[in-house]
């Protein structure tokens, strides 16, 4: 039985989080919601929507009250009915994902991989990132002038980088891409149905089998890659299991597939839609780091994070009951006028800019330093290579997912005509 929680039965906005208008432009609706009630119970979504900046930070910091163990809860509440068996691969693997664990498991896993993604460690990849960007641009030039920013550029870049970091053969990228897309549908909560869960389950099973094989090969023949490093840690007895190695590889591959891709694509879109800011960036290239932070804030790749109330807890004056699910809408927090002046304006020189696009607290994005390395190089290379870059079609197709802000494609032409 559910403990009664502080849900207001009021004239709350009826909000369909997967409706087309909301997927296309969520910001006006989120602004209205934040103003109405920054912590709001939605009957329609059957959970809490947190849209105020202070409340979002409080929610992300409340590790004791609001669990990230989405999978335990998720499988229990939703997938079980769709026939996902106890001990399914999805459950086993995802329950060990860094993003979906609480302390102390999270602390242990995070410490093991954090160093590899520190700003200092990723800085050594700069030259390699530039070479990958250059070679992608070269391929685009051969086929141009029209191309898809995502398929031809912002997708292959982070995939190549993370595959190389981990030590996964680059020629297997297409396989990984397919599996990753299957899993993504569940992680980012696209419309739910049995078929998709079955596909996610199949995709993840295949990915796990594949990675088991890679791990075994590295065990016999260690290289200087991250998989070999994790194996070494395991063999030194630092309490990392083989399953945790595999799970960590899947989240790193997955993380390297989706978010950086969308950061770069959404940044390109924002610049193409704001020609004055593009001219400003052309004239003042030193603004690139703050521009990247602004793209993260303005229309970043992540809409929100999911939490489950573990215990009775208070947020923004509301009582949240154990078992309630909570959507922490960073998209909304990043446009909170209490924190950001003129929040709906794209200002590539914005300062200060304490956006929460990478989250806040112990789950602050592990890959943030890598994204902050890749995105500026990618954007600068693209803009310098194609100064006439413009949109081919103003109609944009956004993916219908709850947690990610991702375009299906971003068709552009290098021909300024």
């Amino acid at each position: 039985m559910r403990v009664q929680s502080d849900r207001m039965n009021n004239r709350s906005p009826v909000l369909d989080l997967l409706s087309e208008p909301f997927i296309t432009d969520p910001y006006p609706v989120l602004a209205g919601l934040r103003e109405f009630e920054p912590v709001h119970w939605s009957d329609r979504w059957n959970g809490w929507l947190v849209t105020g900046y202070a409340e979002v930070v409080a929610a992300l910091r409340n590790v004791e009250g609001l669990s990230s163990d989405r999978i335990g809860n998720y499988v229990q509440h939703r997938v079980a009915g769709a026939g996902a068996a106890e001990g399914s691969v999805t459950r086993e693997v995802l329950s060990k994902w860094l993003a979906f664990t609480d302390p102390p498991t999270h602390t242990r896993l995070r410490m093991l991989v954090n160093q590899a993604f520190s700003p200092k460690a990723v800085a050594s990849l700069e030259g390699r990132v530039q070479r990958i960007c250059d070679s992608l641009v070269e391929t685009i030039r051969k086929h141009g002038p029209e191309f898809d920013v995502i398929g031809d550029f912002s997708y292959p870049l982070p995939v190549t980088v993370i595959s190389e970091m981990l030590g996964v053969p680059v020629e297997d990228q297409d396989k990984i891409k397919g599996w990753s897309e299957d899993v993504m549908l569940v992680i980012f909560m696209a419309l739910e149905n049995k078929e998709r869960h079955a596909r996610a389950e199949d995709g993840l099973s295949e990915m796990v089998e594949y990675l088991r094989d890679v791990v075994e090969r590295r065990r016999r023949d260690p290289q200087s890659d991250l998989i070999s490093h994790l194996i070494k840690v395991e063999e030194e007895g630092e309490a990392l299991s083989n399953d945790e190695i595999i799970a960590t590889c899947t989240i790193l591959l997955f993380g390297g597939h989706e978010t950086t891709t969308n950061l770069i694509a959404n940044a390109v879109l924002a610049l193409l839609q704001h020609p004055e800011e593009r001219r400003r960036l052309d004239a003042e290239p030193e603004l690139m780091p703050s521009a990247i932070e602004e793209f993260l804030r303005y229309d970043g790749p992540v809409r929100g994070f999911l939490r489950w109330a573990r215990i009775r807890t208070t947020l923004g004056g509301k009582e949240i009951a154990p078992g309630d699910r909570v959507l922490v809408v960073v998209d909304a927090a990043n446009r909170d006028p209490l924190v950001f002046e003129d929040p709906d304006r794209l200002d590539i020189a914005r300062h200060p800019n304490r956006h929460v696009e990478f989250g806040y607290g112990i789950h602050h994005c592990l890959g943030a330093p890598l994204a902050r390395l890749e995105a500026p190089i990618a954007l600068r290379t693209l803009l310098e290579s194609f100064p006439g870059l413009r949109l081919v079609d103003d109609r944009l197709e956004w993916e219908r997912t709850l947690l990610s802000r991702s375009l299906a494609r971003l068709q552009v032409t290098a021909d300024s005509a």
Partner: protein, 68 residues
């Protein structure tokens, strides 16, 4: 003063509360009520640990400064 040749600074405006520093060097770093890290006075923490905290900070908020 012990360890006077090494100072550690923390840019609180950059801190996003990952708590990496306080986990690596709890004697040197604490987390305040707002979730932001701070440097404890007179911590006497080894330079190696301070550098580890500096290197592992995901937002580059920590700097170990050598006087000589």
């Amino acid at each position: 003063m012990e360890g006077a040749s090494t100072a550690v600074t923390l840019d609180r405006a950059r801190c996003m509360g990952s708590t990496m520093c306080s986990q690596i060097a709890p004697d040197a770093f604490g987390i305040d009520e707002s979730g932001t890290a701070f440097v404890r006075p007179d911590h006497g923490t080894s330079v190696q640990l301070l550098i580890a905290a500096e290197e592992q900070c995901p937002v580059n908020a920590i700097a170990v400064v050598f006087d000589n």
